[in-house]
Subunit: 428 residues, 2 copies
C-alpha cells in the first residue's frame, strides 16, 4: 500500500470510515501513532439521511463528505481507498484489493450491512438502502416506475408499479414511508397529471406489534397516527416470508402485489474473514467492556460491528445507530492515547443514551430524550437542528438547510433526476 | 405511448429537451397544439456548467432540472422518457423504445454528440463530457487516478496517472483546463500530502493557431495568458492523431504520455435514422430560413442539429451553443403559434449574437459582447451572473450560488466524491 513505517511509531489501522471509524481516526494522537484509515469509499456517509436522497430531497453531496477533507491534519495520517478481504491475526496483516498492510493495532469499524435473514429471493428482488449508490438506485426506480406506469394499459401492472412496500417499521422505514407519502401528496400529482396518483399505495410492514421498537410507546403511537393521516397502510405483526419481484408473501397468507419492496427490516455486522467463529455473536465481533476483542490484545471493534459481551444494560448489544458508534470511537481514541502505553487499567465503556428521534413529514416528528418527549412541529424543528449540526462540514450543513428551506416553501422535492437508470432484475 | 388524441388538436412532437426543445415546448400554445416532448433523460442539462460537475465543484442537481417540473402547465402537454430509434416521414410516425407515436408536426431538437472524427481508438480511450453521467465519470476518474498514483512505485505509471490531456481549446477545454489547474493549486496538495502534486501536468491541445476560436483575439490571448499563469501547458497547431490509452500521438510526431485524455475537440449533430442523405450536411439537418426541413413541410429542426442552408452570415451553420438554440426554439414556437394555420409567409430567422464568454478560474474570465470586451474580475462576475440567471429554477440558482460562495472563501471543491467508480477500459 506504499505506506512507510515512521520513527518507530506504532501503526493503528482502522477499517471503516463510518461514525465510529471516523471518530477514532480524528481523535487518535498522531504523535503517538501512525494512523491508517481504510474505507471502500472516499467519503463518509451520513446514513440517517439516506432516505432523503432516495426520495429526491437531497443530493449525495449534502450527506457525504470527502474523508481526505475531513482529516486534514496530515502528519502521520494515511487514507487508503480499499476493500479489505482478509485479516491474518497471527501475522498482524490485512489483505486488500490494493495490497497488504501490517498493523500494530487494528480497529474494526466496518459497520453493518443489510440483513435479509438468509432469504435469497428477497435479497434478489427487494431494494436495500444502506449506501448512497443504493439510495440513488431507489430514487431512480421510484421515478422510473411512474414513467412506466404512464405507459402501461395493463391495470394490474400499473397497480404493482404504483405500490410501494417498505419492510421494517424502525426509524428508516417510518421516515421513508412518510417521505413517500409526502411525494404522493405534494409532488407526484403535478408531475404526472395523466396518471391517477390516488392509486399509489404505500405499505409499511412491521414484524412486531408496534412501530419504532427502540423508542417510547407514546412516540410510536404518534408516528402511527401521523403515517395513517398521510395515507400509509400500516401492517403490524406482519412478518414477510417471501417476495418474487411481483408479490410480497406474509406469514398469515396475506399478499401484496408490488414491484417495489424496500427492505429496511434489519442490519447485521459486516464481518471480514479472519476471525474465529467463537469470537462472533449474531454477526458482530465480541468485545470486552474496553472494546477489545476477546482473543486479541491488539484488535478492537467499535460501532455496529461490535458486540459488548455480558453487558448488563444492553444484553443484546448496543443499538446499531450513530450514537453508540460515535461514543465508542471517542472512548477508544482516548484510551489508546492515554492508557495503552502505560498499561493502566481502562475504565469500562458506558453508553450514554442521548435519545432518539424520527421524522414523519412536514412539521411532524417524534423525539425521545431521557427526560422529555416531543412531538409535532417542535420535535420536527429539533430533528432538523440535530441532523444539521451532525452533518460533517460547514458546506454540507448550508446546502442541506438551503434545500430544506426551499422545499418547505415550495412543497416539492427538487432532485427528481434519474441520473443513472436503475435496471431491475428480471423475474424468471 | 398511451397518449390520446384530443379535440382535433394538431400534435407537435418535439424530440430533445435541450435548450432548443425546452424553449419551443414551453412557448407553444397548448390551446392550439397537443405538445409531446421526448427526451432520453427526465431532466434538462445545463451543459455549459458540466465541467464544474466533472471537477467536483457542483453536484448534478444544480445544473439539471426535472423536465416535468419545468413544464408544469399540464393542459395538452405530455412528456415521455424515451429513446427515438427511427422516424418514418411518410407515415408521420416516430418509433421509440417505449412504442411508436404519430405526429402532425415534428420538431427535431436532438442536439449534438461528441465528434471523434471517426477515430475508434480515441472513442474507446478518451473521455467525453457531453452529459451528466459522463461528467460524473470524469470526476470519479480524476479522483481515482490520484488514489492509484499514491499506490504505484512505477514512476512512469505515476506520471501517466497524474497527466491530464484536454483536447480542444474551445470554451469547454479552456474552462476545464482552468478548473483542473485550480484543483492542482488549491485542493489536491491538501488531499494528497503523500503525493508530490507538482508532478501533475495539465496539457491543453488545440488544432488551430489560437484558443477560443469563436471569440475575439484579445480574449483568446487573455485566456492563453491566464492558463499559462496557472501552469497549463498549451499546445497550439497540434492536431491529435491517435491515442492508445497511454500515449497521445500528435501530427508532428510529438507524444504525451497520459492515462487521461478528455475529448472536447468537437461535436456533431445527433441525427436519428429516417432522413435522406441529401437532407443532411455535416451531420446536421438542412433547414430553410424558417427552420423547416428542405423536404418535409411538417418537420422542423432547431438548435445544434439544424444547419441553415445558404445563410449569408453563418455559411458554416450557426454556432452549436445555447444561444442559437434558445433563439431558434423561441422563433419556431412563435411562428407555429401565429402563422402556421393561416399560411402567412414567415419572416426568416435571424440569429442575434449576444456575445460569448469563458471563465478560466478565480477572478479570471473573458467576455465578448457586441460593443464591449471584458476580462479579469469584472468578466468573472459577469460570467457568474449570466450563468446563474440562465440556470433553470430558483432552487438551482440558490444551490449553485451557495456552492460558489463557499468555494470562493474556502478555496476548495466540495464534492470530491467517487459515488460510482469509473471503470477504465483495459489497454490490450
Amino acid at each position: 500500500m506504499n505506506i512507510p513505517r515512521v520513527n518507530n511509531l506504532k501503526r493503528v489501522v482502522i477499517i471503516g470510515a463510518g461514525f465510529a471509524g471516523l471518530q477514532v481516526a480524528k481523535k487518535l494522537r498522531r504523535d503517538k501513532f501512525q494512523v491508517v484509515l481504510i474505507d471502500k469509499n472516499n467519503y463518509h456517509t451520513f446514513q440517517p439521511l439516506l432516505y432523503q436522497v432516495a426520495t429526491a430531497g437531497l443530493e449525495p453531496d449534502s450527506i457525504a463528505h470527502s474523508i481526505r477533507n475531513i482529516i486534514k491534519k496530515t502528519k502521520n495520517f494515511f487514507f487508503r481507498l480499499a476493500i479489505v478481504h482478509y485479516i491474518n491475526t497471527k501475522k498482524q496483516k490485512i489483505y486488500t484489493n490494493i495490497g497488504n498492510l501490517s498493523y500494530d493495532y487494528l480497529i474494526m469499524a466496518t459497520g453493518s450491512v443489510t440483513n435479509y435473514f438468509g432469504n435469497k429471493n428477497i435479497e434478489s428482488f427487494a431494494l436495500p438502502m444502506k449506501s448512497i449508490p443504493e439510495a440513488l438506485n431507489l430514487r431512480s426506480l421510484i421515478l422510473q416506475d411512474f414513467e412506466s406506469a404512464l405507459l402501461t394499459k395493463d391495470e394490474k401492472k400499473k397497480m404493482r408499479l404504483m405500490t410501494f412496500v417498505i419492510v421494517g417499521g424502525g426509524p428508516t422505514g417510518v421516515e421513508l414511508a412518510g417521505a413517500l407519502a409526502e411525494m404522493k401528496k405534494y409532488v407526484l400529482p403535478h408531475d404526472y397529471p395523466d396518471l391517477d396518483i390516488q392509486h399509489m399505495n404505500i405499505h409499511l410492514l412491521q414484524a412486531t406489534s408496534r412501530l419504532l421498537d427502540g423508542m417510547s410507546k407514546k412516540s410510536a403511537k404518534q408516528a402511527y397516527k401521523n403515517l395513517k393521516e398521510l395515507g400509509v397502510i400500516i401492517w403490524l405483526n406482519s412478518l414477510v416470508k417471501d417476495y418474487n419481484g411481483e408479490i410480497v408473501f406474509m406469514e398469515k397468507n396475506q399478499k401484496i402485489e408490488s414491484s417495489n419492496v424496500i427492505w429496511a427490516a434489519g442490519v447485521k455486522g459486516a464481518i471480514i474473514n479472519g476471525f474465529l467463529k467463537e469470537d462472533i455473536k449474531g454477526n458482530r465481533i465480541l468485545v470486552d467492556n474496553n472494546l477489545k476483542t476477546i482473543r486479541y490484545k491488539n484488535i478492537f471493534a467499535i460501532g455496529d460491528v461490535a458486540f459488548m459481551n455480558k453487558n448488563k444494560h444492553y444484553p443484546n448489544g448496543h443499538p446499531m445507530t450513530a450514537q453508540p458508534a460515535i461514543q465508542q470511537g471517542n472512548y477508544l481514541a482516548k484510551n489508546l492515547n492515554c492508557f495503552l502505553d502505560n498499561n493502566i487499567e481502562m475504565k469500562p465503556f458506558i453508553y450514554k443514551n442521548l435519545g432518539s428521534m424520527a421524522t414523519i413529514g412536514r412539521n411532524k416528528a417524534v423525539c425521545d430524550f431521557p427526560y422529555l418527549k416531543l412531538k409535532g412541529f417542535l420535535a420536527w424543528i429539533v430533528w432538523m437542528f440535530v441532523h444539521l449540526i451532525s452533518l460533517v462540514g460547514f458546506r454540507n450543513r448550508v446546502i442541506a438547510l438551503t434545500n430544506w428551506i426551499i422545499q418547505y416553501f415550495h412543497y416539492h422535492k427538487s432532485v427528481r433526476l434519474i441520473i443513472r437508470p436503475f435496471h431491475r432484475k428480471k423475474i424468471i
